[in-house]
Each structure stands twice: as structure tokens, then as C-alpha cells.
């Protein structure tokens, strides 16, 4: 009787293998820097930190659940039309996310504009469905989706951190945690003393443009591959 219970719950197991599904995409198999998936949105939305965090959460929701549903249906999807079926699942989830953001976080929705819709064609979603969910159990696919979108989120947060602080002098602008760190002290939200040691800095407008994300991403890749030398010969 008890054995039966354990077997029933074993599909929700969270052992070493499952933990690897989450940790591996954060460094060794990062979707952006190693698998080259989902680069478009990583470059376009990262001019500020708050929208890129919202974007990462939206991607997490979509990837995890589309992986889960596709994996549930994987034995019933004929292989000729699998792309259409997957796209319908993804488009449904993205529509849910878009309506949710539009209702509860309108300024961020406005800022992300077409990029929420573009989660449909975010290569991470499609890539993980094809590479993982079509061949694995629902629970594992769900974890794989979470791991990959965390790997994506880490890169987004790092890029947007540098772009926002160097381009605008603020951090998390637009969110409740907004702070202004560098630049002229008269623009500070929390009015600190005039003797701010970073007041000489004037904003670098290049950092606001998407071009800057290219260079920051290249530097991240350079550092990652110098540290983790087994990644060097990948594409």
C-alpha cells in the first residue's frame, strides 16, 4: 500500500538529475550564450532592469507550461503537424500573459510593446519543445523549462544592469524599488548630500541603444568562455 503511494508520487521526484535540469542551463548550457536561443528579446528589452525582469518571468511562465503541455500531448501529436500544434499551445499561453500584463501592469506592457507577442517566436520556447519536451516526461520537461528560462533571465538581468546604470544612472526604474545611483545629485530620488562621489558621471547614451547590448553580450560570452574553456569550440 505504502509502496504504491511512493510510486504514484515518484513522477514528482526532485533528485540529483532533476536539480541538474535546473542548474545546467544557468551556466554550462545557457540558452543565450551557448545554445544561441532567444537572442532577439535579450537585446531589445534590456535597456532597463524592471521590464527585463518582467519579461524573464513571462518567458518562465510560457516556457515551463508549454513544455509541460507539449510533453503531455507528445504521444498524440502527429509529427507532420507538430509545429502548428506547438505554436497554438505557445500562442495561447502568450495571449494569457499579454492580457494579464495589460490588466495589471500597463506601463510595463507599453514598454515591452511587441516583445511580449514575440515570446511566441522566441527560439527558447520552440527550441526546448523540439529538443526536450517531445521526448521526455511532463515533470522533467517542466523543470527543464524553468531551468532554461532562469538561464535566460540571468543574462537579461546582467545586461540590463549595466545598460541601465551606465545609460540612465538608475536601477529598477519604474518599479517600487527604484533608485538613482550615479549622475548629478539634484536628480536623485532620495536626496542625498551634494557630495556624491559619482556626480561627475554623465549618462552614456550609447548604452540606451540596443547596440550596446550586443557588446555587453559579447563580453559576457568572452568571460564565460575564458573561465569555462570547454565551451570554446561551440559554434
Amino acid at each position: 500500500m505504502t509502496e504504491n503511494k511512493v510510486n504514484k508520487l515518484s513522477f514528482l521526484a526532485f533528485g540529483k538529475k532533476e536539480r541538474r535540469l535546473i542548474t545546467e542551463p544557468i551556466n554550462d548550457n545557457n540558452p543565450i550564450t551557448v545554445q544561441i536561443l532567444g537572442v532577439c528579446s535579450a537585446l531589445a528589452v534590456t535597456s532597463m532592469m524592471w521590464p527585463s525582469i518582467v519579461m524573464s518571468v513571462a518567458v518562465l511562465f510560457v516556457v515551463a507550461f508549454s513544455n509541460f503541455f507539449t510533453s503531455l500531448l507528445r504521444k498524440y501529436i502527429p509529427s507532420q503537424v507538430r509545429m502548428i500544434v506547438q505554436l497554438v499551445i505557445i500562442a495561447f499561453l502568450v495571449t494569457v500573459v499579454e492580457l494579464f500584463l495589460k490588466a495589471y501592469s500597463f506601463p510595463v506592457w507599453k514598454q515591452l510593446s511587441v516583445f511580449i507577442g514575440l515570446i511566441i517566436t522566441n527560439c527558447i520556447v520552440m527550441g526546448r519543445l523540439e529538443a526536450y519536451a517531445m521526448a521526455n516526461t511532463p515533470w522533467k520537461s517542466f523543470l527543464d523549462g524553468i531551468g532554461n528560462s532562469l538561464g535566460y533571465g540571468v543574462i537579461l538581468v546582467v545586461i540590463s544592469f549595466f545598460r541601465e546604470i551606465l545609460g540612465k544612472g538608475t536601477l529598477m526604474a519604474g518599479s517600487p524599488l527604484e533608485v538613482k545611483l550615479i549622475g548629478k545629485s539634484s536628480e536623485f530620488l532620495i536626496n542625498t548630500a551634494d557630495t556624491s562621489w559619482l556626480s561627475w558621471y554623465s549618462n552614456n547614451n550609447l548604452m540606451v541603444l540596443p547596440v550596446a547590448a550586443m557588446f555587453i553580450l559579447a563580453i559576457i560570452i568572452w568571460i564565460q568562455r575564458s573561465v569555462n574553456r570547454k565551451l570554446i569550440n561551440i559554434s
Binding site: S41, L87, S113, L118, T121, M214, S226
Partner: protein
Amino acid sequence: MLDFINTFIKAAFIENLVLSYFLGMCSFLAVSKSVKTATGLGLAVIFVQGITIPVNWLISEYLLVETGVFGIDLTFLRFILFIAVIASMVQLVEMVVEKVSPALYNSLGIFLPLITVNCAILGGSLFMISREYNFSQSVAFGLGGGMGWALAIIAIAAIREKLRYSNIPAPLQGLGIAFIITGLMGMAFMSLMGIDPAAFFTK
């Protein structure tokens, strides 16, 4: 007519989908290793983009709005319908390419069906909506956007072919240097900002 030319030039050069919005980066980076395959994919993108954007314009103008055929607001179906149009158009292109040029079909391989999930295609349709283009503008935007994408991928493929002979630090090789080049190309294209094509033609 002036409107058409204006939108076309804007979409192809000034607001280039790859180099100023960074859409369609995945296949842009993955297929840009040789000029020949890059050209094939570029042509396919021009075709798909040039057809799907006007078709999607017709759909959103006549089917999805309250004043349309069904008389109810169906804008929440936008994503699903757009992606269905794109997927079927890509299927069509795939069949045509397979019949007309089997060699190109083989060299493009998996990347032909993957045009469906190329952000530039869906992004073009969504930009067309958010910028409220009319029909002739959307035709120009489709063709121009596709042309701009093809131009960018052919240019970077040519640069990457030459890069094979240069001495780049090992961790920066491949992906890293491709990002830096794309960034530099983006900066070069930024110099076209502020050009007003309409002013040129009215003089």
C-alpha cells in the same frame, strides 16, 4: 506612391529589422556562415515577409475588429491567427523551393521551416499593427523589411567568411565576434537615422 517609397526605404535601411531592432537574430547568427545559404534564406524571408504582412493586415482590418465581418472584437485571437498565416506561408515556400531548387532546399535544411519562428516575420506583423499602417504601407513595409533583413544577413555572412582567416582570441571566436560585428554594423546603420526619403522625392 510617395508613401510607399518612403515606408519601403525606411523599413529596409533606416529601421532595419535586424540591425536596429535586433529581430530574427537566431537564424541571423546560425545561417550566416556562408554567403550562398545566407542569400537563399534572405530571399525566402523577403517572400514570406512580403506576403504575410499584407495578409495579416487584411485579417486584422476585416476579421478581428468590431466593425469587421463578424461584428465582434476578436483582437485577442491576433497572435494565433498571425502565426497560423505565417506557418502556412512557410509551408508553401518550402514546397516551392523543394520543387524548383532541390540544391538550395538541401543547403537550407532545417532553417527553412524555422522561418516560422523567425522573430523578424512575426515582429514585422506586430509592428505593422502598432504603427497603424494602411494597406499600401504594409505591402511596402513587408517587402522593405524582408529586403533589409536579407541585406543584413548577406553582409554579415561575407564578413564572417573573411573572418575565418583572422587571429581572434579563442574564447571570442565564433559567437562572440559575430555579436561584436553585428553591433558595429548596427552602429553603421544608425548613421542613416534622420534621413527623410519623402523630402528627397518631393524636391
